[in-house]
Symmetry: C3
Subunit: 430 residues, 3 copies
């Protein structure tokens, strides 16, 4: 049952050097310092908590990194079936020469120490990128990020706008906006000016995208500016907004963002479908879930209103994938983007990839992004995707449709790298 | 990795001569006249437009067929991954001896000329049908189609009723109805009489089905005739209807249609789930999308009220497929029908076929219809389906459940042809 | 194309002796007495009815078991593609030495007689359990079941609560409750006392779960006890409840049940998504369908409010499976439970199993339950699941992720048996 075709294609896909079009990397501390940085990824903490580990065992300022790792490792036996733990083992083997197939209470300590030493090497960050075949990494920057002190050619700024759209009513957010722009946003006009300043700042620093994550209930729409101004004034006065006022305000700010994307030729990444804080006692970043009852029809108005803006769309669930396929097939400005969060597991990635590759124009598919917080994760996550992509190319294209291996690899390269360059208009694009 | 079992079954399925139970063929001009008739299929224009080709490059009275083909071919390199383009290549190879695996700016012109010559042969239509192993083709006829001037034994009339149910409020529709029936539909009674006339006309001409496509929001229900009459009068007076009046009117006309299907023993094809004109700047026939949030529970009342009417149901999305499986498994009058539009790609066809074949009585499954506008498309589309069906029969039935090849082929034949004969009560049924 | 790895794993999984965590077995008559008990399973009557058999041919007191079987067998040729009929053939071959691959009007009578003889053997029930490798079977007991006259170590009581939550308004239900508990439930306080008595009775008899099936519209919530008492009083007076009163009452009783599950450390099986009596002319137990538009977000409040209660959740459709995966991955008290009813067919079981095994902690997965009414069904149903599980373990874990066969089998054993012991705290747990 060895599949030489698959093995060949996978090997070739492994050789492509990539640009990661979405991550949560902190460019001032991109790589990990110890295993706690790896095991602290919310996938492990939330799965361990779900499997029975009390939250206070792994969260709290008094817990040292090593203690935290020790406690999480105790629980890994309940999680070793998950694809997420397979990433962990793969990182340990690739980066630290770990020889085992399980991380256990018996074998983790030498690994911890060995990893900490390796990670302390001054060029660790470069080693990781080189070994992972990753050249550039998109960030997720707060709107008030100064974007200074790092190489914006390696770490590409991206303006993340959730706070503006959904939390403008919070005083802290408005203060951050005022501080970042020098403008007090007290009505529709000043809010627009402040946002213009943000875009000017971000694009001057080489930002290649604006991005936002959106709840299943969100329905963008063009709002009457007078009504918007009214609500902004309420918000600024510290008044509690009604649900419909909050919806109007969010819709309005979203629309202003889209207008600025148009003006600055910036793609607007939409990540659709997440409900925040569903499980309020969950671990840090492990509280969000969703309601599958969401449709891209909610975005009809905005897709029609901004034909000049490219919308790379991520959907949270496999149940939304077919809509993403169909909307990308019809709307010139909708692009299918990666495999997000709860859909980032092989069963769903494989089905979603197969359906996208057979029905969306090949220049409108962004295969994968890491969504990582620490650089080391690019390797196992992209490798998981490269493996699935190789399988789909082998089976659907070479075997079933008679493509040559070379034709299949060209498609693979475009989906893995070429489209990232084109869609985000990368200046370094080769 | 050659799979002899699959190859054998596929070859056998390829030999069955079929009846196509749903198409948009114009029986007065069934086959194509040139490559523009093939490349003008909305799948190609909308995919090319989605990939970046401006609409005005391919739509407009001044564009000659050859110019149009040239412009679309320029864009095909961005679409060659799609299953739809694989149909195109397959037609070119099967019908015109094309030897390449891509249609390019360099190689299309000789093909165009060669195809035009072949298509000019007086028996081209017969050649296509014979070569495609298609014997009879169901049409989609406007309600005021005279159904004259063609062989209704080869091209089976089918009464399409979208205009009546959703556009009765338009003056043009009412005028067409009056002209076709000689009856001015000005209230519930006269509307019913006019519809009766349509059914009499269609069944006299050999119609084997009534059909309609329906938006996700549609909810058929029996309406009070007095209330219906009131709304009909408003519509006839040219008054603008409220949403709830329009819904009531649509529900009422739909119900009258079902009653006539019962009276005439005519199956009522329901094609559920399409939203029209979502992308209003899209190319011709490339503007429709959907909202997956639809359920067959909306049809509970009508399925219960008309046990004597067979409803061959098509759903627009894979997300509705399991409901279709379950409703066909429970309701004697619900039949699963083909793979419609956005679900007509291999990944979804395969999953939908597997789930249907293992849970719906075998006499209640219509495997496939072409939905084609030009005859040449039957070959690649049915072949795609035959290939998938062969794969499912080989894997799920012969390998996993120990069926003989002959048993599997009998199931294949029933799903491909036998059930079309039985369910639509084909007079020529053997 | 023989797959040795799959065959080996399947054989090993076949050897595990199991506990069936959900069935509808009548412990006073657990095994079948004749083929009519097998063919009377609603899957066969509803499929035969769906395929064209009139209901009155198979329902009615005057029809003898043998007549009923004869009539159903006449229709089996239309159903032999279904996985359900494959279970039937498998039972006939395993238990009665049937040699054919189809049950036909020509061959059923000798089988009927032979089966009746075998089933009359005094140890038939033991034979079936032993041959099926089933040790213990969970029941579905009415709340007023005395739980007497059977071995509660073999047949584990389970408190089924649909009647209480959704039919308390019916006089008959209230009378049964009064008779079972000696308490007239006339307000919130007495209702709670009555329910407390039920839990005391059931747990004293060794019940290991409380269970309920829920419509897609159900939305549990903590209700003001005063408001609840008001509605209870209306119900007790025989007043017709409004929809919102009924919803409030159902929510209230559901909440009381959850509180008692907490108090008694009893898992609360939620079976989410069924609409009752959608096809009202259907055969017995063949009238229920669903609306896929349901979300586990509706259970957010209850999952948060009862962290100490384990909720083994079953969903009716594949469309809800990803939510079940994600909610089990995040909520420590949510466990994925089996493959229910309309999703209990191989295509959906396979996809659902793959997605669960790769993303839910392995200690939170209950692989399968039979849902059977007669003991003989455990064998073919669990075998279907063991086969699918073997395929997923072979492909996803051994081949793709490099697990050893032994590691894969340990995972298989945990999902098939170990988690049932742990999650339901089986006293006999080894």
């Amino acid at each position: 049952m060895t599949d030489t075709l698959f093995a060949t294609l996978f090997q070739e896909l492994e050789n492509f050097v990539l640009i990661d079009p979405h991550s949560h990397i902190n460019p001032h501390s991109a790589a990990s310092k110890n295993l706690a940085d790896l095991l602290g990824y919310h996938y492990y903490t939330e799965l361990a908590h779900s499997a029975g580990l009390p939250k206070d065992q792994i969260e709290g300022p008094e817990i040292t990194p090593k203690e935290k790792v020790g406690r999480l490792v105790e629980k890994l036996a309940d999680l070793d079936n998950t694809i997420q733990v397979s990433w962990l083992i793969e990182m340990c083997r690739e980066f630290f020469g770990f020889q085992e197939d399980r991380l256990t209470p018996e074998n983790w300590e030498p690994l911890y120490d060995n990893a900490e030493q390796k990670m302390a090497q001054p060029d660790w960050e470069d080693q990781v990128l080189r070994h992972s075949k990753i050249e550039q990494v998109f960030l997720t920057n707060d709107f008030d990020d100064p974007l200074e002190g790092f190489d914006t050619n390696r770490y590409i700024p991206c303006l993340r706008t959730d706070d503006l759209v959904f939390h403008f009513v919070k005083k802290g957010v408005r203060e951050r906006l005022a501080k970042a722009t020098g403008i007090e946003a007290v009505d529709a006009v000043t809010l627009r000016s402040a946002i213009s300043k943000l875009f000017a700042h971000f694009t001057a620093k080489g930002a290649r995208a604006c991005a936002i994550s959106l709840p299943p209930t969100f329905h963008p729409a063009k709002v009457d500016p007078g009504a918007a101004s009214q609500v902004i004034k309420h918000a600024v006065k510290g008044q509690r907004l009604t649900n419909s006022e909050q919806e109007l305000l969010s819709a309005h700010i979203f629309w202003i963002l889209a207008e600025h994307c148009a003006e600055h030729s910036l793609p607007f990444d939409l990540m659709i479908g997440v409900n925040r804080r569903v499980y309020e006692s969950g671990v840090y970043q492990g509280q969000d879930l969703y309601d599958t009852r969401v449709s891209l029809i909610q975005y009809k108005e905005v897709f029609n209103a901004f034909p000049q803006v490219t919308f790379p769309v991520s959907v949270l669930t496999h149940m939304s994938n077919q809509e993403l396929v169909s909307y990308s097939w019809i709307f010139p400005n909708v692009v299918a983007n990666g495999h997000w969060w709860y859909s980032n597991t092989p069963t769903y990635i494989e089905l979603d990839t197969r359906s996208r590759l057979e029905a969306i124009p090949r220049n409108k598919l962004i295969g994968y992004y890491s969504d990582m917080y620490k650089l080391e994760f690019a390797l196992p996550k992209f490798r998981m995707y490269r493996r699935i992509l190789a399988r789909v190319l082998a089976e659907d294209f070479v075997r079933r449709r008679g493509w040559t291996e070379d034709q299949a690899l060209q498609l693979g390269r475009q989906v893995l790298r070429g489209n990232v360059e084109q869609i985000f208009k990368m200046p370094s694009s080769k």
